[in-house]
């Protein structure tokens, strides 16, 4: 069964860069959202298995999304994809439940490694 992936970033360009860096052989259905509020709305409409989440966004940022997911006990694997590469940012999002932190510009190999680590990709 294909994996439902939600890509959340305010930049259409960044979403495009990320989607192109996903493994071509990964069986997925991709949905996109341009801010945190939209992401949560998508999430609540159905199933999201994996969320690629940007941190710096207008409306509702990535931290607020992580907070909401945790508070409301919502369940999906969140991989933070951010240009904010401060060590403190990485530690913060991990403490908030993200399974991984991927630096922008995204590296296809790094994404593959994370997906394999979590058994999302064989």
């Amino acid at each position: 069964m294909s994996v439902s992936v939600l890509v959340v970033d305010d930049s259409a360009m960044a979403r495009k860069m990320l989607i192109r860096a996903l493994p071509p052989d990964w069986d997925i259905t991709v949905t996109q959202a341009s801010n945190g509020a939209e992401a949560l709305a998508h999430y609540r409409q159905g199933v999201v298995d994996v969320m690629f989440l940007d941190l710096t966004m207008p409306e509702m940022d990535g931290y607020q999304v992580l907070e909401t997911l945790r508070r409301e006990d919502l369940n999906c694997l969140v991989i933070v994809v951010s240009a904010d590469i401060q060590e403190a940012a990485q530690a913060r999002v991990r403490a908030m439940g993200a399974i991984a932190f991927i630096k922008k510009p995204v590296d296809a190999e790094r994404i593959k490694a994370v997906l394999k680590e979590y058994g999302l990709l064989v």
Partner: protein, 203 residues
């Protein structure tokens, strides 16, 4: 404000590239200061020469500000200007445990150093993504604690219009705030457009 001289696709690419450069700059000063640095979403706009001083004043907000300028040269060229909110230098000095009473020269030196780190990391990151190299002039003080409306004088600007790329840095629970602005004269924007097209094609 409409952007007349870059396409929507080029603007989006520039915004993302600036976002990544800003992230690298933020990480660099976070390391220097030992603090978590808050980043904004980069803003891009095109302004006529006459509008540049007002645009910078609007960024700085009301009150007193200081600014450091640094030219960049290469395929991409223009001026990077870092605008510091009032008391930013004192705040930096406190963070770096320099003691609370910085004299004028030491305080100016600190702003030059921080600007150098920010501009080098941010523009260096942008240039790397766009697969080009740029060089930098030494930073110099453009304005020292002046009213924000006096940061830059219109007659000091040679370009007819400029592309303004703005990123903002702040530190939680501190007064330190600064903006990094890239000003590119219209004749340098053609090179930027080519570099952005290249970047988009290679995606």
């Amino acid at each position: 404000m409409t952007i007349e001289f870059i396409s929507e696709e080029q603007r989006e690419a520039l915004q993302e590239v600036a976002n990544i450069g800003m992230g690298q700059a933020g990480a660099s000063i976070a390391k220097v200061l030992g603090e978590f640095v808050e980043l904004s979403v980069p803003q891009i706009s095109a302004v006529g020469a006459a509008g540049i001083p007002a645009a910078l004043a609007a960024l700085a907000g009301d009150g007193i500000a200081s600014a450091v300028r640094q030219a960049f040269i290469g395929e991409l060229r223009g001026e990077a200007i870092v605008i510091f909110a009032e008391h930013s230098a004192d705040d930096l000095a406190a963070l770096l445990a320099y003691g609370d009473a910085l004299d004028g020269p030491a305080s100016r030196e600190l702003l030059l150093d921080i600007s150098n780190v920010l501009v080098g990391a941010c523009l260096g990151g942008i240039a790397e993504l766009l697969r080009t190299t740029i060089g930098f002039s030494a930073p110099s003080l453009l304005a020292d604690q002046v009213a924000s409306s006096q940061l830059l004088r219109a007659d000091g600007i040679s370009a007819r219009c400029a592309l303004l790329v703005e990123v903002r840095f702040g530190i939680e629970k501190r007064v330190f705030r600064c903006h990094l602005v890239m000003l590119m004269p219209d004749d340098a924007v053609a090179a930027l457009r080519r570099a952005l097209d290249r970047f988009v094609e290679e995606l």
